[in-house]
């Protein structure tokens, strides 16, 4: 299970990084979202993978690590706010610069 989980993280990271390196703002936002999924899952997993044991006192004998969960919960919400912010930034850039290239210019090609 751990290996499967690690590979999934790797795939998410790969996809996220590749999209981050593209030249269009929207694609970069997609990549950023995938990468933040990977990061959240990774942080979450630092409490180890425990099945059927939510961190609720008295429910099960052993329970999952609540601390990473609490940290990731706020990370998800803040990540959402940041995504929204980046989206608006991308919109603003597209309007001001009349194209959606990350550099705001040279829209037809990558710059070397």
């Amino acid at each position: 299970m751990e290996l499967l989980y690690a590979i999934t993280l790797g795939v998410l990271t790969t996809c996220g990084v590749y999209l981050l390196l593209r030249a269009r703002t929207f694609t970069v936002i997609l990549g950023l979202t995938l990468l933040s999924h990977a990061v959240n899952l990774y942080l979450f997993a630092s409490g180890r993978l425990v099945a059927g044991a939510p961190a609720i006192v008295g429910l099960t004998e052993r329970s999952a690590d609540p601390l990473p969960q609490a940290l990731v919960l706020t990370a998800i919400v803040i990540g959402f706010a940041m995504t929204a912010f980046v989206v608006v930034l991308a919109l603003k850039a597209a309007v001001e610069l009349r194209n959606d290239h990350v550099d705001g210019e040279n829209p037809d090609e990558d710059r070397a």
């Binding site: 590979i7 790797g10 990084v17 929207f26 993978l49 608006v88």
Partner: protein, 931 residues
Amino acid sequence: MPLALIILLPLTGACLPALMQGRSSRLLASVSAIPALLSLLLLLSWLPHVMHGGEAIVQQLTWLPSLGLNVAFRLDGLGLLFALLITGIGCLILLYARYYFEGNDASARFFTLILLFMSVMLGIVLSENLLFLLVFWELTSLISFLLIGFNTDRQAARLGARMSLVITGGGGLALLGGLVLLGQAAGGYDLSTVLAAGDRIRSHEHYGLMLNLILLGAFTKSAQFPFHLWLPHAMTAPTPVSAYLHSATMVKAGLFLLARLHPALGDTPEWFHLVTLTGMLTLMVGAFVAMFMHDMKGLLAYSTVSHLGLIMLLIGLGTPMALAAALFHLVCHALFKAPLFMMAGYVDRATGTRDMRQINGMWRFMPAMMVLTGISAAAMAGLPLMSGYLSKKMLFTESLLVTAPDWAVVVIPAWVTLAALFSVAYSIRIFHNVFFNGRPINLPIWPPKGPRPAALSPIALLALATLLVGLMPEHVYSALVQPAFAAARQTLVDPYDFSTLGGSVPMIMSLAALAGGALFYAMRDPLFRLHASLPEVDAKEIFDWIMRSAIALSQRRVFQLENGSLQRYLVFIMVTVLVLVGLELLAVDRWDGGVALAPLDPLTVLAAILLCLAALGVVVFHHYRLPALLLLGVTGLFVTVTFARFSAPDLALTQLMVEVMAVVIMMLALSFLPQTSPQGSTSFRMGRDLAIAVLMGIGVTAFSFAILTRPQETISGFFLANSVPGGGGTNVVNVILVDFRGFDTLGEITVLGIAALAVFAFTRDLHLKERVVDTHPGHWVAEPHPIMLSTVARLVLPIALLVSAYIFLRGHNLPGGGFIAGLITAVALTLQYMAGGLVWAQERMLSPFRPLIGAGILIAVLTGLGSWLFGYPFLTSAHGHVSLPLIGEFELATAMLFDLGVYATVVGSTLLILANLGKLMTVAGPGKEIG
């Protein structure tokens, strides 16, 4: 009495002329002379102590002991000799500048800078700590830059200043490296430590490197070949600057440093070869070029280069009294060179030129100056009874004492005799050519008007000093040079026996030089013609070429790194991360940490595969933005499932809500952006990016696997144990959020609120429609809102709100809480916007979102502050049981009030973001503000 005062006096005194801009040079000079004279008097008060062989005085103030950096000053014979030269000649320069700058309104800057320069020069010679010395050293480079470029409106002055800064500043960098190595080898940066550790330093493995770096610093500062270049170009400075910096003080700093560090570094074959050979080359090049200079100051500059080479040669020589001869000549040189510069300055002002082919026969116009300058020129030439005569004889005597290596035994005496010959020739030239040699030719100012008698006083005083040294060398030697020599050798030394100078061989060498020099000067006209026909090697061209290439190279490199492409910067960051983390990961010997792996089950495998496929799908279809966005949503849903699968119901709920909102927002954004991405990248770039991405993925897989299979050490036991007794809730995640780590959460909801406000601010004046609509016409179609959706949405709203209230209330004990409840409320309200349209929803909804955010944060803060009322720390929670009819008994904690703040902030922020993004796309265009 603190030694620091000697440095601080001119330093603070420098403020005085700065505050008196535009006043007469007479007033400025008098004011500036006060701190300089006080410093000189302080130094003189130490003279008896030092003269009688007293111990070196070290005063220190601990500053940064961990870095080996103390504010420490040291006064011994060597420091005192240099300090006296700096302040003594400095005072005379101030006197000279009073006349030189007469009628010049801008001289206040000169007086300020010259006092600052005096202060930092004193810092060099009085520092006990090498790092401190280095700071002063660099300051002299900086201030000399300002002084050389004093006439800022002249290009030659600016270029000369830049050249000197590049060369001496570059040498300063080398010196920094050398001194750090030296301090490491010696075990400390204090001179007392360093000077005592000579044997350890000389046998240190980095001795060669250290020596080369320190010599580089000293050679550049003291204008040794081939770094001498900056000195002649620094002659664009006003003459008082040349007379002070470039004859008496700054160029002597390198010599001081080598004399100072001699016990630590000196008397090795490397030292002998590097220092002596450099000195010999500089001596000869300077003397030769000086002879053929037609510019008065140029001649003096090259003769200074030559004399610096001579002193350098003596420092390297290693014979018993060579260092004494070096220090003695250094004093003589400062005394006779400064008045020659002063003379050149007066003649320049009187005639309007410095070209000796025009300036002739000045004796008619300035007879007094002729007599005084004659003394200095005779000393430079080394005529009998003059100071230079003695120091030259000392040089010859020492050169004959060299016994090894074989070549040096013959070459050095012959070499110094030849150089002395040239020096006789140029000394005669500067005197004879200026004051005699026929009549003036085409002077720009006619008739030349010599300076008034009072203006000659600094020249007269220096000429007198030169005579005194020549007449009673023993006294000068025993008072000044011998203590300095002893301090430089770190041993007791015998007095110099001047009667030994009468030996026959040095006498013959001396006479040969005199006769040869006179003959050489007599034949000057054919020699000048011969010299003019030689191809000219202009070292400045070479220097400029090096500078241009260096600048062009760095510009190219900067452009390669920083060409404005964000993609490129990101690649650099990624590759850096890959390399740094990769190197660490490669060093891991076992990936599998040994903890037993959990078994796989088919459903999980399937979910993982689907998750990966969805993520890959986003990449594959990223050119078609809508499908890619939908696949992104699928990815998010499977992430939600993952949280649920591994015992994190709170996370699963949060992720689900966030995913819905995020997709809605991106959909909104997409409606303004192009629907497809162009195939922009070349296949090379795609391959490169793919390689980086895959390597990143492999790295993440490897280290997460390594972490997951290692035993866990967690602090969560505390939270699990104290959640019920301390926080009054069984849902530990929620208790952590609102209680144990409540302060973190407070920060996080504040960030959330700020992000929402930023979105609000950005969308406020964003007019998308007018500007984007043209790029894809036909895209903006106002479709009616689907009737079924809007009907169902209205029905769903109260249910959803009820659910969110339930989730909120139970959150302390079961999955839920402020974050999740807030998101559920927001999603439910978003649904109304989507189903009925912005205008419809706006009419039916209270939308003070910004006040809601503020209220949420306020509630959270006030809850925290409330605990102060009861004498507890910020955000301490209290709890108790409450029972309500129908709902039953539940636990009520102050943490719940805090959670209410979280709830309000989340609802307010989310809806503020959504409503404002939605507002952009209304057909009616941006209406009044929402939120």
